[in-house]
Symmetry: C2
Subunit: 262 residues, 2 copies
């Protein structure tokens, strides 16, 4: 344990989730840990920030080298609050998760877990989001933590490329069934919505958002989806530069000053 090292941990399942406890138990052997996590679950909140309601912070006490706070906002609010008001100095590492449920392919867009990591990356801090492919509250994180430990150790020794954070997805298998780590790109897939229609007691319609995932490139072998289907841990480097650089040239050729209004 490096007593000069400060690690910030957050998640989107809330401070009481089993996954964040598993992550804290790994991280505390690497340095001092401060947890700033949502008071309640914030799944699907993506990179949302709270601008219309007040944000409150609650102290959950200190145990050894682990200090815990919760915040009634989103995962990104938690990172901002930690960086701005709670941490005594810039953290050396920001960890998010371990999420109950996968965040591969286009799920990265909706993921509060990964948004927190991206926010850390914006600040220039090495940041990693971890997700386990099992949604249940009582998921077994023991195999996951074995690999999370290795991954954190690797990152602390090598650092991460500038402007890049990691999206780590772990299949829900026993440690000996996991074939290793694969560095891969984000799969192209979408969630096909199936809004479930119901009627409330007053006779008004409402919907629950559900959906099924469709892999739009099922034959690709270099994607996170392929890795996970084939018992590998998928590590996808993720960036906050959303520019479609390959499209810049094409779009610059357009004459944007023509049009029906000429």
């Amino acid at each position: 344990m490096d007593k000069d090292r400060l690690i910030l941990i957050t998640n989107d399942d809330g401070i009481h989730a089993k996954g964040i406890e598993a992550l804290v138990n790994v991280a505390k052997s690497f340095g001092n840990v401060v947890v700033v996590a949502p008071t309640e679950g914030q799944s699907g909140m993506s990179h949302a920030i709270t601008v219309k309601t007040p944000i409150r912070v609650y102290k959950h006490g200190k145990n050894g080298n682990v200090e815990k706070f919760s915040c009634n906002g989103t995962p990104v609010d938690c990172v901002k609050m930690a960086m701005s008001k709670i941490l005594p100095k810039e953290p050396d590492l920001i960890l998010s998760g371990i999420n109950h449920g996968g965040n591969s392919s286009s799920s990265v867009l909706y993921s509060g877990t990964m948004a927190a990591a991206l926010e850390g990356c914006l600040y220039g801090i090495p940041s990693v989001g971890f997700s386990l492919l099992e949604f249940s509250k009582d998921a077994d994180f023991s195999a996951a933590t074995f690999f999370v430990n290795r991954i954190i150790d690797n990152i602390l020794r090598r650092g991460l490329p500038k402007g890049v954070c990691l999206n780590v997805n772990i299949p829900y298998l026993k440690a000996e069934q996991i074939k290793g780590v694969m560095v891969c790109r984000q799969n192209h897939g979408i969630w096909r919505e199936e809004f479930e229609h119901r009627t409330d007691p007053a006779g008004h319609d409402y919907y629950w958002l559900t959906g099924t995932f469709e892999d739009l490139e099922p034959h690709a072998t270099d994607t996170d989806e392929w890795a996970l289907r084939n018992q590998y841990i998928a590590i996808t480097p993720v960036q906050f530069d959303f520019t479609a650089h390959k499209a810049l040239h094409t779009l610059k050729q357009w004459n944007w000053n023509d049009g029906t209004t000429d």
Copy 2:
């Protein structure tokens, strides 16, 4: 007006915002318009989806070739609901905005306006988010709509590259002061938080999230920030593939199977 063309419009300021009305007024000359916008303002909601509370849809009637609905969810919920339950067929174009306030640089990460466009892009529909650099409710959209008209016309005639949507930011100037359109990349900048501390009547602390923007590459001349500072409309192509492709090679060289747990 092409009566076979279907245009979906949403925003993040809510169905009653002046900016969406301005966008509808432009779009209805190009085709049939269906508005599915948040019932209330949803600024800063990014790509959030509503999974914990029911979603309701409200009809706001039809006027000529414009039909309006609102949805109590996020901008991304609106797009999903429109695609899944409301529209009679796939739209030919998805427009989001015109946002009251800019969405250049890293603001794209927090923006509900741009998340709606990205969601449309995931579905393979040409999608554009428009933002005006003026937050006020009563902002004057007349210069903006002149250029929005041209941009929509351009896109309808040419289509957009696959997997790419556009982030269009418009300076708050008179039409004759705007020098034209610049296709540019997303600036690297961050919001420095300044949580404003207050105490409620019961004596408990709370915070309001505020912040100031810091441009981390103020000398770059190919960014959206540069374009806007220099009186250009900034058009940034945006993609939903968040993979840091340049980092893939480096990370593949790491021996991920070493670590302190060996």
